[in-house]
């Protein structure tokens, strides 16, 4: 049976300790969005000592570039984008207290190490389920970089947004474990 947790930002390391690779988390409350271009700007701001559009301490970032909302909806399709492209920028954000990242796909060894060091976890939402995931998003506000269009930073309010723990605080990695469990030898 899959273990299910419920979490809401702001989060501390202690809140993340019970999470194990393979567990399901239902997030509620505030989640920030940022993908490639927004990460670049956030880290440039940090490097220049400029203030960030949001306080990252204890927060959650979801790697997503949604489709525009139809007039009757709050957001369009909103599934995760591939996370490794954010790897180069991640440690700088972890240093500021970022606690949870949601995306899809593997992280680099450096990011995995940094997550353990700074007490953060990485989860995956179902990639390519953009319509389904959008239902858990209840409100959306663009808070920075509107010129980036789909890549602008948004503040989402979510309710029971589902994601699976990939990298937990103990250093486990669900991608590696899952693959090993089902691997079969190939004949040459």
């Amino acid at each position: 049976m899959t273990v299910t947790h419920r979490l809401q930002a702001p989060l501390r390391r202690a809140d993340l300790e019970p999470l194990q690779a393979g567990d399901l988390v239902l997030f509620s409350g505030t989640v920030y969005t940022a993908r490639d271009a927004a990460h670049k700007r956030l880290v440039e701001a940090i490097d220049q000592g400029d203030p960030l559009p949001m306080d990252l301490n204890g927060q959650i970032i979801y790697y997503v570039g949604p489709t525009p909302a139809r007039p009757e909806r709050v957001i369009g399709a909103a599934g995760p984008t591939t996370s490794y492209r954010m790897d180069a920028y991640t440690e700088a954000l972890l240093k500021l207290g970022l606690k949870v990242m949601i995306g899809k796909g593997r992280r680099s060894e450096e990011v995995k190490k940094a997550m353990i060091e700074y007490g953060a976890v990485y989860l995956a939402a179902v990639g390519g389920a953009g319509a389904l995931l959008s239902l858990a998003i209840k409100s959306v506000e663009v808070i920075a970089y509107p010129d980036l269009g789909p890549e602008a930073v948004r503040k989402l309010t979510v309710e029971d947004f589902p994601a699976t723990v990939i990298n937990d605080l103990a250093g486990r990695d669900l991608y590696e474990e899952g693959k090993k469990r089902y691997k079969k030898g190939n004949k040459q």
Binding site: T67, T81, R106, P150, G178
Partner: protein, 279 residues
């Protein structure tokens, strides 16, 4: 000469991109249905259920299946007896794409490679035109996501690498991609041709419906062998571990230079979106 109005072409390509983004084709739905029982991993089975739910929701509410509504790739088969009236073929296709992405609330995902400035209307489209006999015009719209495209590879192997070398590279490409291209995937493989031909044809090979093997029995056997090898990686749905990493391997074999063995591996995600019309 048969005349086709440029405006009809614009309208048709617009509708095709809308349809492709909102309605997952029946062959993919059927493959999900089968996989949700066949997958050994319980987490994997659950993912197939969610993908089916996602497809149903997308269709009902006209929300894109995936937020990456892709580069607009278009394959055109232009009958040589067709005359496009009242405008240019290329301009009509671009305008159709622009309108689909604007009016359909699709994401604009095209930018300058260095400045990363968004072109804001999802153009230019990537158009491949082939002149064929007859008086028909066939249009295929294929919105292609970046996540799976980034995991695709082109290899110029040495002929001595042979089948074993080809198989190794295909499996390696899938292994390196791992969870990134949103498995379950469809693996397009083209063996032969030239550097650019292999890359172009492999995109077309992805249009072949899941479950329809290569008509040549020898190629079909090689496809089956590659599918087994890819699924033995254990990557599974979403990379969380499982038996079904790929729903299909579609292979095409073409003659090549005596010194070469080109191999193109194009990864398509489960959001395998394409729609076509014949005018």
């Amino acid at each position: 000469m048969r005349e086709i109005e440029a405006d009809l072409i614009r309208q048709t390509i617009k509708n095709l991109f809308l349809q492709a983004n909102f309605v997952l084709s029946p062959d993919v739905i059927k493959a999900f249905e089968k996989a949700k029982d066949a997958e050994e991993s319980p987490v994997g089975r659950d993912i197939f259920k969610r993908l089916l739910e996602n497809a149903a929701l997308a269709k009902e509410h006209r929300i894109p299946i995936c937020q990456d509504t892709g580069l607009a790739i278009i394959f055109v088969e232009l009958g040589r007896e067709v005359h496009v009236k009242g405008g240019e073929l290329a301009a009509s296709l671009e305008e159709g794409v622009r309108q689909a992405y604007d009016e359909g609330y699709l994401r604009k995902s095209v930018c300058h490679p260095l400045t990363r400035k968004n072109t804001a209307d999802n153009t230019p489209a990537i158009v491949h035109v082939e002149v064929v006999p007859g008086d028909r015009l066939k249009l295929v719209a294929m919105p292609k996501g970046g996540g799976s495209e980034n995991m695709s590879r082109l290899f110029m192997l040495t002929p001595s690498a042979g089948w074993a070398g080809v198989k190794e590279k295909v499996v390696q490409t899938v292994e390196e991609a791992g969870p990134n291209p949103c498995p379950p995937i469809i693996v397009g493989v083209v063996l032969g041709g030239s550097f650019e031909l292999a890359a172009r044809e492999v995109k077309k090979v992805l249009l072949r419906p899941i479950g329809q093997p290569n008509p040549d029995p020898e190629a079909a056997a090689l496809e089956a062998e590659l599918l087994e090898a890819v699924n033995n990686t254990g990557i599974g749905p979403q990379g969380l571990g499982g038996r079904i990493t790929a729903l299909a391997v579609n292979l095409k074999i073409m003659p090549c230079h005596i010194a070469s063995l080109p191999l193109a591996v194009n990864i398509q995600c489960h959001a395998s979106r394409h729609a076509e019309a014949v005018l």
